[in-house]
């Protein structure tokens, strides 16, 4: 990683020489769809947590005034 000094996650890309795809790396990497699912799940958890914390404000009778 950038700061930890460890290797970064494999990035699928065409090499400049020969134009071949590094298939071994791609197979080790989570698919875009899989990653998106996890991100959406985290977004849902974050939103649910935020609503839980601010719940009182959403049911405040003064809200509609």
């Amino acid at each position: 990683m950038f700061f930890t000094g460890r290797s970064v996650l494999p990035t699928p890309k065409l090499t400049s020489e020969g134009g071949s795809v590094n298939r071994a790396r791609i197979s080790a990497e989570p698919t875009f769809r899989h990653s998106l699912k996890r991100q959406l799940a985290f977004a849902a958890v974050s939103l649910a947590s935020a609503v839980y914390v601010t719940f009182g404000l959403w049911i405040d009778p003064g809200l509609a005034r």
Binding site: F2, A50, V53, T54, G56, R65
Partner: protein, 554 residues
């Protein structure tokens, strides 16, 4: 909000004023509808103009209380998302590590405490957004594009919370100055330095161009002020607070909370046993990795340590008392920007550093530890984090806006050049009047101009700023009556003074609603206010659901 009623009203007013300035084209950085006749310098207050304008449609259609709840909720959510993306990009391979760290950084006790009214301080996304764009300068040769983007991020961050941006810049500079010394390659350092400097020049140009007017208004505009209206000696963090449990948490529910924060919104650190657990785990990781294998650790530890010491303020506080022991912040307290900051809020940098260290520890444990070791670390971290799980923010119902204000009846009594005065004068102690004014701004009709208000302005001790309007004898008389429940012995001298004060404020009508909102420092005595007003101005009369008094000076 039970524990930040005044701040909630202030930020609702700010959001309402955003809509008002969009509709009426008034200056977003200065207004005279509050604190009449002097006005309020909004650039020097936490006025969040960008968010207020972005959410103006929500304010217009759903009311300002909905906007307040929406912004607060989205701030928490976006903070978690921003920190997760940041940790994934720069610190952790493990999604679990990044997610746990992100949730902690967004919902840490310090940010939950600030959620009691401090809308701007819940915008935890400010820091990862800025640092991400800053790091991009060193990672790419596209310094012009990245410089422009960083400049825009600076403008956004400044508009939401300049104090948080200041702390972020300081913390990032501290971190990078340590991290760079660990880099082995001089060429790498030079390359980073060159592209970062070029990008920073572009970012500075962009942000300075866009912020030149707000900055001018902040420092040289009408009603600007030096320093802060709050005492840095009081708003300093106690060392013990770092290992105390927060009140609004599972630990607090079990009666384990401690510490002495200046108020509920400023309980900034309160990490419980997480701090020692993370420090111990970090030491283990560093030892296991042979030190140099994790170059980011010294930079994080030094940054966290420096901000922990700075957060203690000019004098060490211990067990709720201020000691005579001078702290390093005393050397900085008179410097520009430092003289306006509240030291204990620097503890939020420590909170984030602890979150980053936790990410590193979890990431390492998941990647390299044996299953047994992994389970031990997992149990230790769960044990440290679980007590910090927040409880929902405490709230109480507020009285409705009086019909007298809501249906516009007040306009029959107050000419356009006059002001409406609430009794007691609207202030941080009794913010109801400011809430009514916010309502009139959202309604889009005539705005009820008022003296007083809850804001930061000039007139404090030693030429510094202060909270609210400089009190006149009559406002002090009513505030004391409302807070103490004792009707003052009103004399002719008081009546003459009141006449002069009302003339200064250009008051055309004074109002006491049937139902007073809760005072920020406790109950407000309704009957006592009515008796004081009757003694001072003669008997008032009822209109709709309020009692009113018309001054005889006009």
């Amino acid at each position: 909000m039970t524990e930040g009623a005044g701040d909630q009203v202030f930020f609702e007013w700010i959001l309402s004023y955003g809509l008002h300035s969009v509709i009426s084209g008034t200056n977003p950085f200065f207004t005279q509808v509050l604190n009449a006749p002097h006005g309020v310098n909004l650039a020097a207050n936490t006025s969040m103009p960008v968010l207020a304008v972005v959410f103006a449609p929500v304010t217009a259609f759903a009311g300002v209380a909905t906007t307040f709840a929406t912004v607060l909720t989205l701030n928490f959510c976006c903070s978690a998302l921003a920190w997760r993306a940041f940790f994934r990009k720069y610190l952790a391979k493990s999604e679990i590590a990044a997610s746990i760290g992100a949730l902690f950084c967004a919902f840490a006790p310090g940010f939950i405490a600030h959620a009691n009214g401090h809308l701007n301080w819940t915008a935890g996304w400010i820091a990862p957004l800025f640092i991400w764009r800053l790091f991009q300068l060193g990672e790419s040769t596209r310094w012009k594009r990245n410089g422009v983007l960083l400049g825009l991020v600076i403008v956004l961050d400044y508009s939401v919370n300049p104090e948080a941006l200041f702390f972020t810049v300081l913390a990032t500079a501290t971190f990078l100055s340590v991290w760079v010394t660990d880099l082995k390659s001089r060429n790498r350092v030079w390359q980073l330095f060159r592209t970062t400097l070029a990008g920073l020049a572009v970012a500075t140009t962009v942000s300075a161009t866009l912020l030149i007017y707000p900055l001018y208004m902040h420092f040289r505009g009408p009603q600007s002020f030096e320093g802060t209206g709050y005492s840095q000696l009081t708003y300093s963090e106690e060392l013990l607070s770092y290992v105390s449990f927060p009140r609004h948490s599972l630990a607090g529910l079990l009666g384990l909370s401690g510490g002495h924060p200046p108020n509920a919104s400023e309980a900034t650190s309160f990490l419980g046993v997480l701090l020692p657990v993370v420090i111990f785990a970090t030491w283990r990781v560093r030892r296991a990795a042979g030190g140099s294998a994790v170059p980011v650790l010294p930079a994080l530890l030094i940054t966290g340590g420096a901000f922990l010491i700075l957060s203690c303020g000019p004098r060490l506080r211990f067990d709720g008392h201020r000691t005579a022991i001078a702290m390093p912040y005393a050397l900085l307290a008179r410097l520009p920007l430092f003289n306006s900051a509240l030291p204990l809020r620097m503890g939020l940098v420590v909170v984030v550093v602890v979150g980053a260290l936790a990410v590193l520890v979890i990431d390492r444990a998941m990647a390299e530890g044996s299953p047994v070791r992994r389970n031990i670390w997992a149990l230790a971290l769960i044990g440290a984090l679980l007590p910090l799980v927040p409880l929902p923010l405490p709230t109480t119902a507020r009285p409705a806006i009086p019909r007298f204000i809501a249906d516009g009846t007040w306009q029959q009594f107050v000419p356009r050049d006059g002001t409406l005065m609430t009794l007691p004068l609207t202030s941080d102690v009794a913010p109801d009047g400011q809430r009514w004014q916010a309502f009139t701004m959202v309604r889009g009709s005539r705005v009820a101009t008022m003296p007083g208000g809850y804001f930061l302005g000039p007139g404090g001790e030693n030429g510094k700023g202060r909270t609210g309007a400089v009190p006149l004898p009559t406002s002090a008389l009513f505030e004391n009556a409302a807070l103490t429940g004792v009707v003052p012995n009103v004399t002719d001298s008081d009546r003459r003074q009141a006449s002069r004060d009302l003339e200064v404020w250009n008051v055309r009508l004074m109002v006491i609603p049937d139902e007073l909102g809760p005072g920020v420092h406790g109950r407000l005595y309704h009957q006592c206010l009515v008796d004081t007003a009757n003694a001072l101005f003669g008997p008032g009369f009822r209109v709709s659901d309020v009692l009113v008094w018309k001054p005889t000076i006009h």
